[in-house]
């Protein structure tokens, strides 16, 4: 049905209002191939976008197409789509294998095919050894992974993941991220949403930024990031003697100022974050001081949005 010319995901001037409240506003977008991060704070319209793609919602105006088909009208594109919803409810009384194979049968697989495919994807997401345990006994990370497994069971071309890392511990995060990266490297189109910049950064470079229902930025994260880096940044360094360390920093080129944040912390102000980070190790070694932590408080989505929104205005 879809040819090379029809992208996996296409939105044309698409808007969705909930009464007076705007879900998404006039978004046009085409995505095909690779992992794309959908970034935006809570309420930016990420879930609305996904629900439009999955035919749960009808656009108030504009068009939505999955592989060239309107998902509100036809369920046929779902043969090629795997969707990991935000919902945390699962059938807790089922085993992981049961859950995945039952849903696989909704793709028209026989019981045997479904069982085989379920075992395969459960292995892929790293749940092979607990597939016969009840889902009610799964940890948060395992629950997220079982949701991913069900979305992958029919080997879809497009995978949509709504906040798949939400509430997971670091180990689960790492393993889910690697699953997503693997999918991308298999040549699938993957959409993954998050409100945490760092998470997306570790998965993909291709991002879409939503803010208040609008499409704020689209493209390579590094390009955006470079712009951001040229913006005033703070580096927060915790050390035993911030005053002494400050003396070493003020002479450095990328640094235009320092501030003391309490007894044991120093804020280094820079207009070029990466350059500042380049000199940072040398300066610390030179100073001979003990440093307990280095943080970038401005290196998050909120700061990025502030910058982007500020830049737009």
């Amino acid at each position: 049905m879809s040819t090379k010319a029809t992208p996996a995901v296409l939105l044309e001037k698409c808007s969705k209002w909930y009464g007076q409240v705007i879900g998404i506003n006039d978004i046009s977008l085409a995505i095909d191939g690779g992992v794309t991060g959908i970034l935006g704070p809570n309420g930016a319209g990420k879930s609305t976008l996904f629900k439009l793609l999955m035919g749960r919602l009808k656009p108030s105006s504009g068009n939505v197409r999955l592989f060239g088909v309107d998902p509100w009208v036809s369920t046929s594109p779902y043969r090629r789509v795997g969707y990991v919803a935000e919902t945390e409810k699962l059938y807790d009384w089922m085993t992981g294998h049961d859950f995945v194979s039952t849903l696989a049968r909704l793709h028209g697989m026989t019981r045997e095919e479904a069982s085989e495919r379920a075992s395969h994807v459960l292995d892929f997401v790293g749940l092979g050894d607990v597939e016969n345990k009840e889902i009610g006994k799964y940890s948060k990370g395992m629950r997220q992974r079982i949701k991913i497994a069900h979305a992958l069971v029919h080997d879809p071309d497009l995978i949509i993941l709504d906040e798949p890392l939400h509430g997971c511990d670091p180990i689960a995060r790492t393993s889910i991220m690697s699953v997503i990266r693997d999918l991308g490297s298999q040549g699938k189109t993957v959409l993954v949403s998050s409100h945490i910049l760092d998470e997306i950064e570790r998965i993909t470079e291709q991002i879409v930024i939503l803010h208040n229902g609008r499409l704020l930025a689209l493209g390579n994260l590094h390009a955006i990031r470079d712009l951001l880096d040229k913006h005033p940044h703070r580096i927060l360094i915790r050390t035993e003697n911030p005053r002494k360390l400050a003396e070493y920093f003020v002479t450095e080129d990328p640094v235009y100022g320092v501030r003391f944040a309490g007894e044991e912390a120093l804020e280094v102000l820079t207009n070029d974050l990466s350059a500042a980070h380049n000199v940072l190790p040398r300066v610390i070694v030179d100073s001979g001081l003990k440093v307990t932590s280095i943080e970038n408080p401005d290196d998050n989505l909120e700061a990025l949005l502030r910058y982007l929104v500020g830049g737009a205005s």
């Binding site: 369920t75 046929s76 919902t87 409810k89 049968r105």
Partner: protein
Amino acid sequence: MDKQGRGLAETVWTRLDRKAGAITELTIRQLRHRLSTWVVLAVGTLLLMSLLAMFIAGVRGGWEPIDNDGDSHDWDQDGYPAGQEFKYGSDPYDGFSFPGSGFFVQEGSFEWGSVGLYSGNHTWRYATGIFTYTWLDDSQIGGEEIIEVGSLKSCPEGELFEDFWIDWGDGCRMDVNRIAVHEASFVGNGTFRVQEGFYAEWGHFEDTFYVEPEPASNYIDEDDIDWTGDPNGINGFDDDGDCLRIGWPEDTEPDFWWGWDDRHQPDRNGNGIPCDVAWISDSSGNIIQINPDDNVDEDPSEESLAYEDAHRAFIIGTGKIAFVMILGIFLPLFLSLGLVRDETENGTLHYLLSKPIHRGEFITYRILGYLIISGGFVLIMSLLMGLVTASLGPGDSIFRLNDMILWFGIAFATILALAAYGAIFNTLGLLSSRYGVYIALVIGVYEFVMAVLTLGGATLIPVLSVSHWTLQLIDSIVLIVWPNTIEMHLIATAFDLPSGIRAFWNPPVHTLGTDNPFISGLISVVVLLLITTMMILFGQAQFKRREIM
């Protein structure tokens, strides 16, 4: 053929079939994991088991002969059964009036409303007041209500009708030789003081003679139904002679005891033959009406009719009330309301709807899953009921196969009702997740009331209900399985026999004028399927347009 070399049948139909299987199976497993499912099934089982226990106790208890016309009873306790009193023209409700009691000669009375005393040895009648006596005939005391001298209670302290009251026809003892009475009769020697505003009369009986009292059993099952099987022949015979009055004393006053009823008519059906029963058939030989003359075939033996009647009534009553009206309404209320609604509320719907399955199909398969659980339960229960009633029922056969067929018919009708209610309630759950349950309860009550009206024989208003058509389907199946039920119904009505069939079964009405139970059964099935389909389609239309958050 697609690229894997599978034919169209393989790719479309088997895939559809697999999806249906998966959703249906998921639904069944979900229902199995819900406590409420088990609770409602357990309550249903308990209900049916207690009915079955009652049935078994009834069978074990055996069958007492029933006096259908009530003439074996000695209402006035004068020692003669009512039937014997009728024969002699005495009043079966007056203890002083009995065969051979003669006639009362009144000697005097108090004026109505007067106050006074009268003494002597008399028979006192309709007396209200206080009697101080030297002698009282304790075998002959009573009235239209009976007073037993030996068991008279003591009167409370105070004045009669001021401080205490005596029931009509009753009395009480005031002292060793003093009684107070109210509208009672007795024989004794003493002084009677009439109560102000009341009455009493006195006198004696003349022309008394002795008549041997007959045993009550002479008046039980004494006039069986005499049916030759030929509507054109002479049917009905007055076995006990109370229509023809064969062997009755010649001087029996005619129609004495029918005084409060209309007169005795030996040829009430007007066919020119006294004391017979006219069985009227239609052109195809089916009995459509039975017109008996008075007192003919009015007290048949239970062996032939009532036992079978009660057995059928148990099955029909259980099928209609326990299966259709209770299980048929309650199972869907508990099991179908949340079929789609709960998935939406839990958010688990997202897993199912992200698969290539139409929302409409989804609803259909959910209902199918619910039907397999609820219908399976109904089928198992009807099988169990059938095995017991077919083994223990009356008749010569060891196993009443027709019972079994009827039980399957009841299960079939109940399953159709389960489908219709399931579709209705599921749609209500979809329309309003908050108020759906209340609307469903209102509909449940409405359906129950319509079912009661249908049981009562109403044919017009209940047409707008699922229960009406389900009950009519059962009525039709009953008539198909036991064609003579309609005759039993007519017989019970014609001879005014106590009949469970009359209570629980009505001849099917929607037969398009053919009186054919197959037609009414078919119409009922079509209507029920139509309701189910329309409700499913309505639910699907609603669900298709629904935005799911």
